[in-house]
Each structure stands twice: as C-alpha cells, then as structure tokens.
C-alpha cells in the first residue's frame, strides 16, 4: 500500500466536483457515488495498513518541515472511510431541477474532499485551508433549501464562521511567529521550548474558537439550531454528524501533539461541560424535532470535548467512541426528522402510521441515552470511567454533569416517543397531523436510517470484538513522540537548522 | 397432647362463665349508679338462652352467619392462648403479640358479617369500630413492647412466672407503674363502654354493627362480649398483676380490673370518633412511651 494513494483520497473527489458539469447528462448522476466508492475502498485499505504502522506522504517530494505532509494513522484512515460512507448514504439523489442538483452534488463532493483533507493533513496551514474549504461548502449546502429562513440562518452562520476562521488564522500566525514552522511534527518537537507559555496558550485558544465554530463548541455554536432546523435534513445530518467530528479531531490532534498542557485540557473540559448542559437543557424545552436534534448534537459534542480533555489514551478512546457513536446515530435521527419536522403535536399517533420509523427512533433514543446492550452504553462507560480515574475534582464534576444531562436527555427523547405511541390527535389539530402522508416516512429516509440502525446493532453485538482495535487506535493517536519520529526521521539535525 | 384437647374445650367454657358474671357486674354497677335495682343474678344467661331459643331469625347470607361463627370461634381460639391457673393451653406456642393479632380476627369476622347485611348503619358502625381499634391498638402495642422488653420474652407463661417469683414486689404494676396505668386506660378503651362506644351509638346509628343481628346472631355477639371482657382483663392481669396463683385470686383480680373502668363508664356521655383518637393517642400513648423509656434505661 504505497503512500501516494493518500493524495488520491483528497484529489479524486475535488477533481470530480469540478469536472461534474462537463460529464454527459446520462453519466452525471453516477459520477459522485462512484468516486465516493473508490475513496471508501481506499480508506478501507489505508485503515488495514495503518493499523500496524501509520503512513506518511510528503507531497511533491519536499522533505517534511517545508512541504505538505499527509499523515495517516488508523484514526485518520477510519475517518476517511467514515467520510466516504456517510457522504454516500446522505448523497443528494434527486428530487430537484437538474442544474440545481449539479450544484448540490459538486458542493457535496468538495465537502467530502475537504473533510478527507482535514483528517490526513499534517500541517496547520493545510488544516486551515481545508477547514475554510469545508466551511464555504457547508455555507452553500446550508442555503441549498432556498427558503427565506434557511437564507437568514446561513447568513448568521457565515458571519460566525468567517469570524471564527479569522481567529483561527490569527492563532496560526501566532504559532508560526513563535515557532517558525507550521508542520505539526516539527511543532510537536519545538513546542516545549516555544509554545508552552501564555502566548502559546492564547494561540491554542484562538484556534480552538476558530475550529470550535464548526465543532459546535459552546461559545460559538449559537448558529447551529437555526441552520439545522431550516436546512435540508440531509445537509443537517452531514454537517452535524460528519463535519463537526472532523473539526473536533483536529483540535484533539493539536491538543495531543502540541499543547498537552493542563490549562488547555481544563479549557476544553469547561467548554465541553457548558456545551453539554446548554445543549441538553435547551433540547428539554424544544417543541420541534429538528431543533431538538440540533441541541442534542451540541450536547453530545460537548461530551466528546469532555472526553478528549481526559489525558492519555483513555481520553482518546472515550472521545473516539462517543464521536463514532454520534456519527452513526445523529444522521439517522435527522433523516427520520425530515418528514417528521415541525411541532411535536403533529406527531401524535405517528407510530400507527409508520411503525418502523417510530421503532427506529426509539432504538436510537435508547442508544443515545446509553441503555446497556447498545454501543451508546459502552461509550458512556468509557467516558465516565475515564473521568472517575482522574484525581482532579473538576473531572468528577464533569462526570456529574454527564450523569445529570443524560437524565434530561432521556426525558425529552422519550417525551417524543410517548407522543408518537400515544393516541391519535383528536379534534382541531387532527387535520394538522394526517395531511396526506405527513406521518409516513419516505422510502429513502427509512433506508438511510435502516443502514445506520444495522450499523448500530452490529456494533452492539460485536462490542467485545471492537474493543481491542479501538484501544489500539487510541494508543496510536495519543502517542505524540511516535508521530514526530515517523514524520521527521532525524529530528536532531532539523531542529538546529530551523533556528 | 390429650390435655391440650381437654383444655381447648374447658378454657373457653371457664372464660365464658367468668365473662358472663363480668357482664352482670357491669349492668349491676350501671344500675347502682343510676339508683336502680339492676338485673337479677342470671340475667345475661337468660338473655343468651332466649336469643338462641328464638324461633325465626333473618340472615342476609352465608357470610352473615360465618361472620358470627368467626367472631365466637376466634375468641374461643384466643382463650386457649391465655394461661389460667392450672391450664396453660397453647400459650407457649403463641406469645403476647400473636394473641393481640388473634383477637383481631373476631372483629374482622364481625365486620365481614355486618358488611353483608347491606345496612348503612352497620357499615358506618364498622368504620367507626375499626377507627377505634386503630386508636386503642397503638398504645396497647407500646405496652406489649414495654412488658416483653422488661420480662425478656413475650411468652405469657414466662411473664407470669417472672411476676410470681417475688410476690407482689415483682408484679408488673409495681415494676412498671406507668405502663400499668396506660394499660388500664387502653383496656378501658378496648372494652368499648360509655365514652368509647361511638360505634354502638343506639340513637344515632341504631347500635351500629348489631343493627341486623337478631336471634342467634345477637346471641353470638352477647357470647363474644363475655369472651371479650374476660380476654381483655386476663391479658391485663397476666401482664401487670402477676397472673393467677390460684383461681380465687385470679377471679378477684379479673373482676377488680373490669370494675375500675366500668365504675367510671356510665357517668360519661360519648366521644365522637375523632375525639376517641385524640384522647387515646394522647394520654395512654404518652404514658406508654414514657414507661417504655423508663423500662429500657
């Protein structure tokens, strides 16, 4: 498995996105899925290879500290695979005018490319470029549903996103100013001398805020509920499920390699707790499913932030488990919410008309809460056991927050289940619910969430088997020195030269 | 084994006869207080024989009859658990607490029987009777706790033996004065006479539970009343007055224990149900708890 294939993972979707309009109309619909299938195959191959030993690709032959480096360890490979698969499942198959569909499909392909790039890129500037690319394409997709509400929400999202990117850029420049390099491995090597001071921490915080916009970090996630509520469910699923995880992954990698300091972890922990509390409690009062799912995803990402704040491989393992679990559950819920949008009252008695949809919703709710046989429980168990192992009281407080917010989450999720399995709405709002096929799920949504459900159940049954690879991935990702050794063969000479 | 069977028959008979004379004593006391001559010596017997000799009786169903059978049968069983001079029955196999529960079965049986009479007076009477039972059973149980803690066992035979060991000095009343007073007050409430007879209020609910009891049903209840008087006073005597060294003292103590409350009873009007609760939960309860505290420390 020679390293050059890594570049394909990013280049292929990008190429396909721009060449899409030129392809004859007949083949045009097949280009996207085909490309994604190839990327998925590549991803699977990369994952097999990187499990034993991470792969490095210096683009264009320039030696690491100068040129662009692609570093693929098992976590990155897994996320590439995830990007390809989830984008394929959430692919805009049709239902629109053809030129509008072209635009959507190409934007999605660009987004896929950007996400793949984010996971594999080894240096900060590259990360920033791909992040900007992902941000812009998500603006385009979010406004895709052409309703006024979507336009306004996306506009607010654009303001926040760009401000965030600005802050990230300032942070990156600060780092470059202090350390003289942007390559992650080199930074990891130089960080102890140059970046472990208040200025370095300030740079980290700025990058955290910048990337946090996309990862729905507490201070900067006010855009999320509106965008997810108004955008197409497919787009919201993509953004909430996939893209936010990648931003989170980058922050985690930065935390592990460059800033393994307690202050940084503490910041992440506090923001994660606030995110979880605000997300879950806001969802408790939500009266409309999409907004509720939006707030619930903010809460879940808060939990992921808390998880990554735990030092050592335990933290990374918990973070990965929660991220992957949310990656599977949230898009499925958004797909279900497509036809069930709007106020909860419309859902009265929905279970009678679409029993499978309601059963899937209940299954995902159970897994989100962490009812044992389902993988959600193992994720929560890892998170809590990680938190309990820490001597610091702040971690115990975080554990308490996780427990309390889970109860709140259970209440609002099962309030929806209760409404669905309750009796039909009578009288005046009866007309509201059964407007034609309002309550029946379209085939595509059911198919999509069915696949996710199958994934979830497979993970539940094979939990013991998945535990080992997860552990290995966590140790591999949290081992900073190995990263440096792998990317920069003779560190001794280079550090001298760079001074 | 054989002597238990004999005692099973003899003890209730003895209890019934003593109970009958207690009823007579009660009516005589009432008469003397009201400056009347009072009933002849065997009046309770005449009443019971007349009731059983009734030619026509109206019954409201099988349960109405079984209620009376349970009432009388329950007390017959309870008598065998009460040690009397010379006969211990099955007192060693069932302690004080079991006796308190076995005496609840007759009232439950009566309640079921009256229930089937489908007479609102009866139902109201039973509701009040059960409330009164709730009232006086709580201090009674406190006293049982105190006594059994003091004697170290709730087996009546040992309780009596402990008291008779040292003559009057080791009687319950001398050792646990507060509990004895509380016990007497509770006994007074248990007998269901004047101030505590809200559930038999003749003018208001036509003798409550007994409203549809005629002939042998009422006869059964008169027999139960005799047993009730005997059992209550016998339990008190066994706990506080050293049980029966011989029959003469035993009977004297029994009549004394019943005479004291009865002499006060007929000058009182009648408490309402909530006032019965108030009185019985205030004085005997406080005395009982204080007595128990004293006994334990």
């Amino acid at each position: 498995m020679n390293p050059s294939f890594i570049a394909l993972v990013v280049a292929l979707p990008l190429l396909a996105a721009f060449l899409l309009p030129l392809v004859p109309k007949v083949l045009r619909r097949l280009v996207g899925p085909l490309v994604l299938l190839v990327v998925a195959a590549l991803g699977m191959a990369l994952w097999q290879a990187s499990l034993s030993e991470p792969l490095v690709l210096a683009v264009g032959g320039f030696r690491p500290p100068l040129g662009i480096v692609f570093y693929v360890d098992s976590v990155a490979a897994l996320f590439v695979l995830a990007v390809a698969l989830v984008t394929l499942l959430l692919w805009p198959w049709g239902g629109d005018a053809s030129e509008n569909l072209d635009r959507k499909q190409s934007l999605t392909l660009v987004l896929a490319a950007a996400c793949a790039g984010l996971t594999v890129s080894g240096d900060l500037f590259n990360v920033y470029v791909f992040y900007e690319l992902a941000a812009v394409t998500s603006y385009g997709l979010a406004a895709g549903s052409r309703t006024a509400a979507a336009q306004v929400a996306t506009f607010r999202y654009v303001i926040l996103g760009s401000l965030g990117s600005l802050l990230a850029l300032i942070g990156i420049t600060l780092i470059y100013f202090r350390s003289g390099t942007l390559n992650l491995a080199h930074l990891a090597d130089l960080a102890p001398q140059t970046l472990h001071d208040p200025l370095g921490l300030a740079a980290f915080f700025l990058i955290l805020l910048g990337l946090g916009v996309k990862a729905e970090l507490f201070l900067v996630n006010t855009w999320a509920p509106e965008v997810y509520a108004t955008a197409e469910a497919r787009v919201s699923a993509l953004l909430a499920g996939l893209v936010s995880k990648l931003a989170l992954l980058v922050v985690a990698r930065l935390l592990v390699l460059v800033f393994p300091l307690p202050e940084a972890r503490e910041a992440l922990l506090v923001l994660g707790m606030l995110g979880m509390i605000s997300g879950e409690f806001a969802a408790y009062r939500a009266r409309d499913i999409k907004r509720m799912l939006a707030w619930s995803s903010i809460g879940q990402l808060g939990a992921a932030f808390i998880a990554f704040a735990i030092p050592g491989p335990a933290g990374v393992a918990a973070g990965l488990a929660i991220a992957l679990h949310h990656l599977v559950v949230k898009p499925a819920l958004f797909l279900l919410a497509e036809r069930w949008g709007g106020s909860l009252a419309r859902l009265a008695g929905a279970a009678r008309r679409s029993p499978l949809g309601a059963a899937l919703f209940a299954l995902f709710a159970l897994s989100l809460i962490g009812v044992p046989p389902l993988p959600g429980f193992w994720a929560k168990y890892l998170l809590l056991s990680g938190l309990a192992a820490q001597p610091d009281n702040l971690y115990l407080l975080a554990g308490l927050v996780v427990l309390v917010t889970t109860v709140v989450e259970a209440v609002y999720l099962f309030r929806v289940v209760g409404v669905m399995y309750g009796r039909e709405a009578k009288g005046e709002d009866a007309g509201l619910t059964n407007t034609g096929s309002a309550n029946t799920q379209p085939a595509s949504a059911l198919a999509g969430s069915g696949v996710f459900a199958a994934l979830l159940l497979a993970a539940a049954l094979a939990a013991p088997l998945l535990a080992a690879p997860l552990g290995r991935m966590a140790t591999q990702m949290s081992d900073g020195a190995a990263y440096v050794a792998r990317v920069l063969p003779s560190t001794a000479t280079l550090s001298g030269a760079a001074q | 084994m054989m002597h238990i069977l004999i005692e099973l028959a003899v003890m209730p008979l003895v209890a019934f006869t003593i109970g009958m004379f207690m009823v007579l004593m009660m009516r005589k006391i009432a008469a003397k207080i009201q400056r009347r001559v009072g009933p002849p010596l065997l009046q309770p017997l005449y009443d019971i024989v007349k009731l059983y000799a009734k030619k026509t009786q109206s019954s409201h169903g099988l349960l109405h009859d079984i209620g009376i059978v349970m009432a009388v049968g329950g007390y017959i069983a309870a008598e065998t658990m009460l040690p009397v001079p010379g006969m211990n029955g099955i007192a060693d196999k069932a302690g004080l607490l079991t006796l308190a529960y076995v005496t609840m079965i007759p009232s439950l049986g009566l309640a079921l029987g009256v229930g089937q009479c489908a007479n609102p007076n009866g139902s109201i009477g039973i509701a009040r009777a059960l409330t009164a039972m709730l009232a006086y059973d709580i201090p009674f149980v406190v006293i049982i706790f105190g006594a059994s803690w003091f004697y170290g066992s709730n087996n009546l035979i040992e309780v009596i033996a402990a008291q008779q060991a040292g003559g009057i000095a080791s009687w319950g009343v001398t050792k646990m004065p507060l509990l004895a007073i509380a016990g007497l007050f509770t006994l007074y409430a248990m007998l269901g006479k004047q101030p505590f007879e809200i559930y038999v209020a003749p003018a208001e609910i036509a003798t409550g539970p007994m409203v549809e009891m005629g002939g042998k049903h009422l006869g059964g209840l008169f027999v139960m009343q005799c047993f009730q008087l005997f059992t209550a006073s016998a339990v008190y005597v066994s706990m506080f007055l050293g049980g029966g060294e011989n029959w003469l003292f035993f009977i004297l103590k029994l009549f004394a224990v019943v005479a004291i409350p009865m002499s006060m009873a007929f000058v009182f009007p009648r408490y309402r149900t909530e006032d019965v609760l108030a009185v019985v939960w205030r004085w005997p309860m406080v005395l009982g708890l204080a007595g128990v505290w004293l006994v334990m420390h």
Partner: protein, 619 residues
Amino acid sequence: MNALDLLLSLSALMLLAAFLFGQTRVYPWLAGILFTGQLVLLAGSDLPMAAGVGLEIFGQQVGWQLDGFGRYFALITIGAALASNVYMGGEWGERYQADGHSLRWLHAALAGNVLAMLLLLSSKDLIAFFIGWELTSWAGFLLMAQGGERALRAALRYVPYAMGGAMAVLGGLVLTLSWTGTLDLLELSRVMSTLGNGQLALLLALFAIGFSIKMGLLPFHLWQAPAYAEAAGPGTAFLGAISARMGLFALGILLVKLMTLSRVADLAFIDGLFTARDLLAWVAALTIVLPTFTALKQNDARYLLAWHGIGQGGYMLLGIVMGDATGSAGGLLHVFNYATYQAALVLAVFAVMHRTGTADLNSLGGLVTRMPLTFLVMLLGIIGLAGLPPMNGFVSKWLVYRSLMVEGRPLLFLMTVIGTLGTILSVYKLIHNTFLGQLRAEHEHIREAPWSMTVPMLALVILAFVTGVAPGLALSWVAEAQAALGLPVLAYTLGGIESPRGSLDMLWIVGVLFAGFGIGALLFYGAGGRSKRVHQLDNYAGGHFLSADVRYHYSDHFYAGLMHRIGPLYRGSFTWLESAVASATDLAASLMQAWYRQAVPALTLLVAAVLGLGWMVWR
C-alpha cells in the same frame, strides 16, 4: 450448556416467541410450559449455577452466576410471571385484544421483564448487574406503557426516576472501579469494606438512591402507584409482585454482601447518634406508614393496592436492615408472601373490572352473592395483606416485629404497627366497597369470573394459605438466601420458630383457630333455631321502605371520623417537591434556550475570545 445458560436461553427464546406469535391462542400454553420448565430447572439445580456465557470488554470480565439469594428472587419472578401468563391467556386476553390493545406486546413485555430480571439476579459483577438493572427498568417501562393513554403517561412519568436511578448506579459503579480497581462482586465483598468512611458514604449514597428509586422508598415513591395501577391487568400483578423487589435485591447485596451492615453502621451523621443504618431503618419505617395511609384515601381499587405495594416494601427493607436472623428472615420471607397475596388481590380486582367494567370503589358493592370465588380470593388476600394469622403475611410480619422487639427499637416497632393497622383499615374498605353492602341493580345479573381467571387467583391464595400454615416450606428458601448473602441463618421448624424468648407455631395456632371456628359453628347452627335468608331491601332503615333505585351503600369518605383527625396531615409535600424539581428544570431549560436565541452572535464570539485570552494569559 450448563443450567443457567439453559435458563437464560429459554427465557430469551420465550421473548422471541412472544414477539413473533404473541397474539395467537397457542402462545399462552407454550409460555406456561416454558415457565414451569424454568421453575423446575431453577428449583432442581444445585447452587451456585455458573453460566458459560460471558464477555471480556475494556479490560473487565462480564459474567453471570446465580447463588441462593438470586435464586430466591428468581423463583418468585417466574412464579408471578406464570400466574399472570395464565390470566392473560384466558378470557381477559380476548377482551384486551377486542378493546384494540396488542396482546403480542404485552406477552413480549412480560417475557422481556423475566429475561431482564434473570440477567440482573444472576449477575456476577457490577457491569452485568448494571446491564440487568437497566434492562429491567426499560422492560418495566414497556410493561407499564401497555394498556392505554393513562398507562403511557404514568410510564413516561417513571422515565426520569428510572434514568436518575440508573445514572446514580452508573456513577457509583464507575467510582467503585476507580477506587477499588475491580468490579467483580465476590472480590468487592472483600475489598469494599476496607474503603475510607468518606468514600463509602458517597458510594452508599449513590447506590442507595439508585436502588431505592426502583423500590419506591419514600422520597422517590410517587411514580410507582399510578404506573403500577394503570398498567394492563396481569402486568400490574407481575409489576406489583416482583418488579419493585429488584430494588430490594440490589439493596440486600449492597448493604449486606458488599458493604456489610457493620460498616454501614459506622457511617454516622452525628457521631454515632444517628448512623446510616438508622437512616435506612427510618426511611423504611416511614415508607411503611405514609403510603399505607395514602392508600386509605384512594377511591380506585387498583390505586389502593399499588399504594400498599409501596408500603409493604418498607417491611422488607426494615427486616434486612435489622440484620439479625429473625429480622432478615422476616424481611426476605415478606418478599415471597407479599408477591403471592398481592398478585391474587390485583387479579381479583381485575376480575371484578372484567365483569363490571370499573374498579371505582364508589360504584361497586354487594358482589359477594354474584362473584363468590373472587370474593374468597380477595378475602384471603386481604387477610394476608393485613397480616392476620391464618395467612403467611402474618408470619413474616411477626418475624420483623420480634426482631424489632428483641433489638429494642420501640419507635420503629410503633411505626410498623401503625402501618399494619392502617393496612387493616384500608383493606376492609376495599373488600367492603367492592363485595359487601348493597348490590346495585345493574350488577344483579353479572356472573363469576371465568375459569381462566379464577384458577390462577385461587392457586396463589392457596399457596399463601399453605405457606401461612406451614411457614417452614418458604423459610427453607429464605435460609438458603440468608446463607448466600452472609446473613445469620434462622433456625426454623415447619410451624415457625422455636425460642425461649417467644416462639411461634403456626400449625398449632391455625389448628386451634379452626377448632374454635368449628365450636362456633356448632354453637351457631346447632343451638340456634332455623334462620331464613331475606332480601337486601328487607332491612331496618328507621321504618323507611327501601327501594332498589335509592343508593344507600356507605362507601364514599369511608373513614370520615379518622379523616377529621388526620385529614390535615395530608399536605402532599412530596408531590410539591416533585413539581419543584420539574419547574427548576424548565427554568434552566428556558435560560439555556435564551442563550441560543441571542441577537448578535458575533458580539458574543468576540467577548468570549477576549475572556478566553485573558483567562489563558493571566492564569
């Protein structure tokens, strides 16, 4: 495939079968056979039944093993499930299906509950325990949610309680893992008692809160009455009989096996004056009294019995907390006793509902002449519930009383007796308003409940009577449970217990009682003259001519006198507490939502950035 694997796979098979063809006529028979098979398997195999199935995940061994304590509860679970299954298979099931409910889901819920409880009872370590605990909660939720709109609402009210309890237990589990390094129950029983007082107190608090929520101890008991009352008929019987007792099983393991009662007694609030063990005892005592007197005021038979379910739980916990041989034997025996007569009572109430259509105590009356068998079941049931001699309820309550008397706890003893008297009053109200008094005109032609209902009820009540007359039969299982748990084992005989300080021999007591009844009957039927049955309108009413359309049955506000005295004490403070917590969550939620509706997000971003920087730089 050893015994426990067979047991678990059998119940898993039943869950699948119930889900697939639960609504057919064949399934109840199959389920009956399977349940009896499980019972025989359980009773027959020797202990401890180790299970082959197990998994190793994240460095923890997760396995299943059934010991004496678990088996005692498992027997009761499967017994209760068998009784409700027979009840469901008969005419009740047909009527339930005719009313539009799904019998398949009810059978699936019951089978799911049994499977979950078996998993919980046979857990070898805390993770398996937690898996079983959560599955039992959610299976319970599924069983409660059957049977209509009010049932669903009551079940939804249970969700926050269940999740709160589960999260407390999970928190405790995780802390135990970090402090002791192991999760296996056997090792924990050695290691946990060596923890410091502070750590032990936190663990006790977390676990005790989690377990007492399911058991319905005092502050967390509000969900249980509506949830158990509104569930479908046999569901209520099963839930009331055993579902809440899983909390007791967990508390038993926690207090006795893991932490050992002596260490629990060391955790003192005011240096030795009021220890954690006293706190548990007093919570149990209050749980006996308050729900029982709430049951007294209920006007619906199902709610009355559900409230009593909570009350009787207090006896069981009090017995175990006492810890001596008689007390713990009484507490554990009460689990079995209560399961038998409670299931019978609930099935009887539903038989009445099946025939008359309502369980409202103010619109029934006089059914004894029309449903005599159901009346007999309810009569023996209430004698058991009230704890009077011939029935088994008396034996277990007597054991608890005796241990309180020997241990010298007067106030606790007083509370239990107040609870018992309250029970006697409220059960008489139940049987009087339903079966005694004036038979309504519209109920004159109803018939006795069908065989499919009367047989399980009678079987349960006869079982209760037999174990009442010869308590030794049940005490053998209890002794085995005590040994498995590490409690001092009770020396029992067939009739009760022998001890100089006051013994109990039910064979003699019940024998003498029935001899007394015989003599009474002889006196009544022999000495008395002929008596004639009269119509219910041939009644004394102060000279007034009674007529069938006038309703003179005294049922509403039954204990008016008592209520005048203790009426003001019903302040509903717990309901106020629950609504306070609910409104606090609402307030927090609206605050959080306000954060997301802010007008200018960019401004907050900048302010946040400045604050963050400040925090990072000047830390």
